[in-house]
């Protein structure tokens, strides 16, 4: 083991390199997998990987256990859909608008939960997520309720969409890496480890928390918006708590506080979930059990296990 591997910057560099190896492998997938259904499934797993990375930033690095990632993906998707439906706003504006709207909402939510932590923070974000989903689902005249809304698409080519999602994933990884290796990443980690200690060293805990919420929610919004244009239909189902549960399982099984863990976890869990469809609706039971087992015996997740053997492990 290189002793340098125990330093934050070294761990992060190792982590991002491993993530990019996974992305490179994903880039080769359309050469092997040519069926539209199978490619679509891997594409959706990349969508979940972006949300898992976003949630991991908030929960894994900053220690803020939000239960609203799926709700923010839904809000991002609806922002683009509503702008398209009512204003015929092109997607080149509709998708960035989703990022901005979810970033602003995330900032507001961050401010609301500023003094909350642990279960109180989680319960407040859960309440926010359910309120958002119910409001959208019940606003029939504005959002067409549970019927969902049609959205324009960027391209009809599934392969092109696949690479759009993959490019977005790489861009998100790059943004998170840039963020985590600087002051902000260290401050978020300090906030997670000891908020009182962080504050006493001069870290603005309020600002750090708000930025973490803002960026995480914006990334979820981006993923949701892109997914809406891919499926050409957005509905309140995008914001179901079950979707958030899936994201949590992806990160916990893959490895909290690690870029590779979130991406690998998302792909493995989603592909397994699709495979398990053949055995009935057992996915949630299996993943819930796995989350318990991992939280108890392997808190670093699969990536923690692999990285631990390779180089001392990320945190």
């Amino acid at each position: 083991m290189s002793p340098g591997g125990r330093l934050w910057s070294e761990r992060l560099r190792f982590d991002v390199r491993a993530t990019l190896v996974i992305c490179a492998a994903l880039a080769l997938v359309p050469l092997v997998v040519t069926g539209p259904y199978a490619l679509g499934i891997i594409l959706v797993s990349i969508y979940f990987a972006i949300i898992a990375l976003a949630w991991n930033l908030l929960a894994g690095y900053a220690g803020q256990f939000s239960l609203a990632p799926a709700a923010f993906a839904m809000i991002g998707a609806y922002t683009t859909a509503l702008l398209d439906h009512y204003g015929h706003v092109p997607l080149a504006i509709g998708i960035p608008a989703a990022v901005v709207s979810t970033a602003l909402l995330g900032w507001v939510l961050g401010k609301l939960v500023l003094k909350l932590s642990g279960p109180y923070l989680s319960l407040t974000t859960l309440a926010f997520a359910e309120i958002a989903r119910v409001v959208i689902g019940n606003s029939h005249e504005f959002t067409r309720g549970d019927q969902g809304m049609h959205v324009a698409t960027l391209t009809q080519s599934r392969v092109a969409y696949y690479y759009i999602f993959l490019a977005t994933l790489v861009a998100v990884v790059a943004v998170l890496y840039a963020m985590l290796r600087g002051r902000l990443g260290r401050f978020m980690t300090a906030l997670r480890d000891d908020p009182v200690g962080a504050s006493s060293r001069g870290i603005d805990v309020v600002r750090t928390k708000s930025i973490a919420f803002c960026v995480s929610c914006a990334l979820c919004g981006l993923a949701g918006s892109l997914y809406g244009t891919f499926s050409q239909l957005v509905s309140p189902e995008l914001g179901l708590l079950q979707q958030t549960g899936l994201v949590l399982a992806m990160v916990v099984i893959g490895g909290m506080s690690s870029l590779t863990g979130a991406v690998a976890g998302a792909i493995l869990v989603y592909l397994s979930s699709e495979w398990m469809r053949g055995f009935g609706n057992v996915q949630i039971i299996v993943f819930a059990l796995l989350v318990i087992v991992f939280a108890r015996y392997l808190p670093g997740g699969l990536w923690g296990l692999v990285a631990g053997r390779l180089r001392g492990g990320p945190r």
Partner: protein, 256 residues
């Protein structure tokens, strides 16, 4: 010259006066001992001075500027730093990263923070655990690390809450030497400790609290000989008991 002026500070918890009309001065360049029996309000005073608690009344001034009610991070940027009785380090970061992060948090650039972190690791004898996560360090090593985090940028005031409690004698000596060196360079300390010999050894003046009030203040030897202080620590003396403040301190005047 007074660096920190604590002026009639009070705070209550559920009707109980945890700090009751406390006033004292911390002079620039001194080590002031804040002593008193358990539950006397010493840590609450530190919480008030370091921005973790707002007073019900009274104020705190630093060189004439009112700093009452400022948040902990704002006070840290003004050079008011604190060490905790139960150490507050970033457990999943290496010892080196803890120091580096503390430097960045104080607004020092990364290159300079790295240089200072290296120097402090050396000075605090933390070299062998440099790459270990802070959560894996012993209690004493964590205290040393917290010292380093406070001193990555020389503070105007360093408030130390029981730094020597449950620490191995070797590390205790490293800490005491660190305090002496920084004091010789002009650093100002407010030291909360139950360890009377070390208070006598390090402090010029002391403030003694009991039941939230200041019961004695002044020269450390005079405070430890004060009848009310001895009574606060040991209870009412029995008739004919000749316990003195120096016995309480476990040493004699010559130990300085």
């Amino acid at each position: 010259m007074s660096l920190l002026t604590v002026d009639h500070l009070s705070v209550q918890f559920g009707g109980v006066a945890a700090v009751d009309d406390v006033s004292f001065d911390l002079r620039a360049g001194e080590i002031l001992g804040l002593i008193g029996p358990n539950g006397s309000g010493k840590t609450t005073v530190l919480n008030l001075l370091s921005g973790f608690l707002a007073p019900r009344s009274g104020r705190v001034q630093m060189e004439g500027v009112d700093i009452t009610g400022l948040a902990a991070n704002q006070l840290a940027h003004r050079g008011v730093l604190r060490m905790f009785q139960m150490t507050r380090v970033f457990s999943r970061m290496s010892a080196f990263d803890n120091l580096l992060t503390a430097g960045l948090a104080r607004g020092i650039d990364e290159t300079e923070s790295r240089r200072r972190a290296d120097a402090l690791i050396e000075e605090l004898t933390l070299g062998p655990v440099r790459f270990l996560d802070a959560g894996q360090l012993s209690g004493g090593q964590r205290k040393l690390l917290e010292f380093g985090m406070c001193f990555i940028e020389p503070p105007r005031v360093a408030m130390l809450d029981e730094p020597f409690a449950a620490v191995h004698p070797v590390m205790r000596d490293v800490m005491a030497a660190f305090i002496r060196t920084r004091h010789a360079q002009g650093a100002t300390f407010l030291l909360v400790s139950h360890d009377m010999p070390i208070v006598v050894d390090l402090c010029q003046r002391a403030v003694c609290m009991n039941a939230g009030k200041v019961i004695a203040a002044g020269d450390v030897h005079a405070v430890l000989k004060d009848h009310e202080v001895i009574e606060a620590y040991l209870g009412e003396p029995a008739e004919g008991d000749s316990t003195t403040g120096l016995e309480l301190a476990g040493g004699d005047e010559g130990s300085r």
